[in-house]
């Protein structure tokens, strides 16, 4: 029999670093434990992974992490514990249909049934029903939202985490190279993107999406049955959690032969905007400075993003969306934060939007002392395929 890797394992040192970091934050905030809540959604799955290495494809999952270091994993019965049992980090694994009671039992076992408990995810994923169950089952507990406490602690990435990002980046570079052979006239969008899914899975990616846009750029789609034409501009967006679970969102633009002049001119402004935003990603700056840098370039070219709610930049890691995000949730940038950058833009002229709107760049950026550092593509190139 041959054996294989079934699940990513974080190093013992990194595991200890994370739990210590959270214990220190708990101590400072006066919490006896954290109830860390996640769900099988790429925006809110990673907090559980961060403290357990357990990937929850679907359903809810909870880790109770006490200030003294004991950790318990609780899961939804449908997703079950089979995969969690293979991971050797948290050994106390429980399944329940009543997470409120499950948590009450754990807090009682830990002798903190009247303690102060931080709920990670109360701001963005804990559902009303489960929180009501928690309060009813543990009436003497003082509950507080610990979402920001947790997210701010994990925002600065360790070297091991940065290495994990680099692994995902390398995979997506390879997949994009492989896709160059798939993108050809008369092939269906869904066939190209299906091949992207296959390659990502072959490299061990745990989850992700592959999207494509072509003029008229109404939206990116997961792959229609429309066929690629020789005069198309093809934009492919890959957003994947690698084998370690760390996410990269990477976008590339293709054409057969040289791009048309208007598209090329617009692309050059995208490159300039992207570079300006990267420069602003300097430790000590505010994440809002990214929007200021973007708008400076837009001002030069008569472009605009005023009032656009879509995020221009957001943290990324074990979740594909982590704080900070701008506009909406600003933070002081710290060295070794990782930010996914994809400057939003709006077109007053609808026909211009349909012609150019999808032409864009997205990549992960490491916040450095002197500005951002590209994590996947060192430079942006419009990929010209042989006509």
């Amino acid at each position: 029999m041959t054996t294989g890797t079934l699940s990513h394992s974080t190093s013992p040192r990194e595991r200890e670093r994370r739990h210590s970091l959270l214990r220190a934050a708990m101590s400072e905030a006066g919490y006896d434990a954290l109830v860390i809540y996640g769900r099988g959604d790429e925006f809110v799955r990673g907090r559980i992974q961060y403290v357990s290495d357990i990937f929850t494809w679907a359903g809810w999952a909870i880790v109770v992490l006490s200030a003294n270091g004991h950790a318990v994993f609780i899961a939804d019965p449908l997703f079950g514990l089979g995969r969690a049992a293979i991971v050797d980090w948290i050994t106390d694994l429980r399944m329940t249909q009543d997470p409120g009671k499950g948590i009450a039992d754990i807090l009682s076992d830990l002798r903190i049934a009247s303690g102060s408990i931080g709920v990670v995810g109360l701001a963005d994923i804990v559902c009303v029903g489960h929180f009501q169950q928690m309060r009813a089952a543990s009436p003497r507990v003082t509950w507080a939202d610990a979402t920001d406490l947790f997210d701010d602690a994990r925002a600065v990435k360790s070297q091991e985490e940065i290495d994990n990002f680099h692994q995902t980046s390398a995979i997506l570079r390879s997949v994009f190279k492989g896709l160059e052979a798939e993108i050809r006239p008369q092939v269906m969008e869904s066939d190209v993107l299906a091949e992207a899914h296959k390659m990502c899975r072959q490299y061990g990616c745990v989850d992700g999406i592959a999207l494509m846009g072509r003029p008229p750029f109404r939206t990116f789609s997961p792959g229609s049955n429309g066929v690629i034409e020789r005069d198309d501009i093809i934009v492919v967006d890959l957003e994947w959690g690698g084998p370690s679970g760390y996410w990269v969102e990477l976008r590339r633009v293709f054409s057969f032969g040289a791009p048309p002049d208007p598209a090329k001119r617009f692309w050059e402004t995208r490159v300039e905007t992207f570079a300006a935003c990267v420069d602003a990603m300097k430790a000590g700056n505010s994440s809002d400075d990214i929007l200021v840098a973007r708008d400076r370039v837009y001002g030069k070219h008569g472009q605009s993003a005023t009032g656009v709610l879509n995020y221009t930049a957001h943290g990324i890691g074990l979740d594909s969306l982590e704080p900070p995000w701008v506009p909406g949730k600003s933070r002081a940038l710290k060295e070794n934060m990782v930010i996914n950058l994809h400057p939003a833009i709006q077109f007053a002229d609808r026909s211009e939007g349909l012609a150019l709107g999808g032409i864009s760049i997205a990549d992960n950026i490491l916040v450095g002392r002197d500005g951002g550092i590209r994590m996947t593509d060192p430079v942006d190139e419009w990929v010209q395929l042989e006509p």
Binding site: M1, T2, G4, T5, L6, S7, R39, G40, D41, E42, F43, W57, A58, G59, P77, L78, G80, G82, R83, A85, I86, M95, T96, Q97, L122, A123, D124, I125, V126, C127, V128, G129, H130, F131, S190, A194, E195, H197, K198, M199, C200, R201, Q202, G204, C205, R218, T219, F220, P222, G223, N225, P243, L309, N310, Y311, H314, S320, L321, W325, G328
Partner: protein
């Protein structure tokens, strides 16, 4: 809504295969990630509100609801929508309050709508959508046909020396080529631990293989289908155990009759288990659950029982516990899963008409 005296529903969802479908059911909008909400008044047009990261570009193309909004504070949007429809002080049913509505969003809604009376409408909604229409059944049949084709092609991939990861990657490619929206492909070989997404194990001559595909087709309707293979002749112990799985599956399916309780599926399972000295007592994992535009819908057993009605669709995968670790390693992932349609006379298989152990030439 009429029956419950509700003026509007606030239907909440999340990009999770268990929780995404309620919004799809009333909007055709597929939300890969993040939260989404549909406000559906008893009279007048509905509206869709989404998380800014996921955005509303795809939602605008769908054309069911023309009022499509992106917001950081959905409570404010919901308040405005309900006020516009004249029901800001009405009875509002919240679909998902029990299982997905965010505590933070609900708190925001109550703050901006102090005169509205909110009620949990999760069961109300789920019970309505539990009985499938002919169009929904056709959608489920389409996904079934795709998974049959994917499995047929996968037989050529199962050969000594290939990694589990490569086989599963091919399943993903095929499912996506057929237009499937989302799904998982899992696989295991002896010694069984759990079905896994991506393992670097390689197949060997004589392997006993279990594959589980759980996919939403182009319409978004889900099928969970499992098949079992051997590279060469099926070992005797696996064959004997397989025969008991077939018998159990048939016993469970036969009680899926309109008017029966869903709990009777467990009773039928346990009767078959007793004949073979097997056990499913105390297992929390679901033996059967509703399936449709969410991969998990009520009823589920054990845990959320319902009277079965004609044209409910139930995913059946009888749970079992194998107390002996050696027995689990040898047999644990050998199982059957398929969608079953509830009819007046018993369950009707929706994908595979018969369960066949597939012996592949090595």
């Amino acid at each position: 809504m009429d029956g419950a005296g509700l003026d509007a529903l606030v239907i909440c969802s999340r990009g999770d295969e268990f929780m995404r479908g309620r919004v799809q059911y009333v909007s055709d909008i597929f939300q890969w990630a993040g939260w989404g909400i549909v406000v559906l008044p008893r009279s007048g047009d509905g509206a869709f509100i989404a998380d800014p990261l996921w955005g509303v570009g795809r939602a605008r193309l769908v054309g069911w609801h023309s009022d499509v909004r992106s917001s950081h504070s959905p409570g404010d949007e919901i308040a405005e929508l309900l006020a516009d429809r004249g029901v800001a002080d009405g009875e509002v049913g919240v679909v998902g309050l029990a299982d997905i509505t965010l505590a933070a969003h609900f708190s925001g809604m109550k703050q901006v709508l102090p005169r509205a009376r909110f009620r949990d409408a999760t069961d109300l909604f789920d019970d309505v959508r539990a009985v499938k229409s002919p169009m929904e059944l056709a959608n489920l049949a389409e996904t079934s046909a795709i998974l049959r084709s994917v499995y047929r092609s996968l037989e050529a991939e199962l050969r000594p020396g290939v990694t589990h990861r490569d086989v599963m990657a091919e399943a993903h490619r095929l499912a996506r080529q057929y237009g499937c929206l989302d799904g998982i492909a899992q696989m295991a070989t002896r010694p069984f631990t759990a079905l896994m997404f991506s393992s670097s194990k390689t197949l060997q001559q004589g392997d006993v293989i279990a594959i589980d595909l759980e996919w939403a087709g182009p319409s978004g309707y889900w099928v969970e289908l499992r098949r079992n293979y051997s590279l060469g002749r099926v070992p005797d112990d696996a064959r004997r155990y397989w025969d008991t799985r077939v018998e159990t599956f048939e016993a469970c399916s036969s009680v899926m009759k309109a008017g029966n309780s869903s709990a009777e599926v467990l009773a039928a399972r346990d009767r078959a288990y007793r004949r073979h000295g097997q056990d499913g007592q105390g297992i929390l994992s679901y033996t059967a659950h509703g399936i449709g535009i969410d991969s998990l819908e009520p009823p589920w057993v054990p845990g959320k029982d319902r009277v079965l009605r004609e044209n409910m669709v139930v995913s059946l995968h009888p749970a079992i516990q194998l107390a002996d670790p050696g027995e689990h390693a040898a047999l644990g992932c050998i199982a059957i899963a398929d969608n079953v349609l509830v009819t007046a006379t018993g369950g009707q298989r929706m994908t595979d008409q018969a369960d066949v152990w597939i012996e592949l030439e090595a």
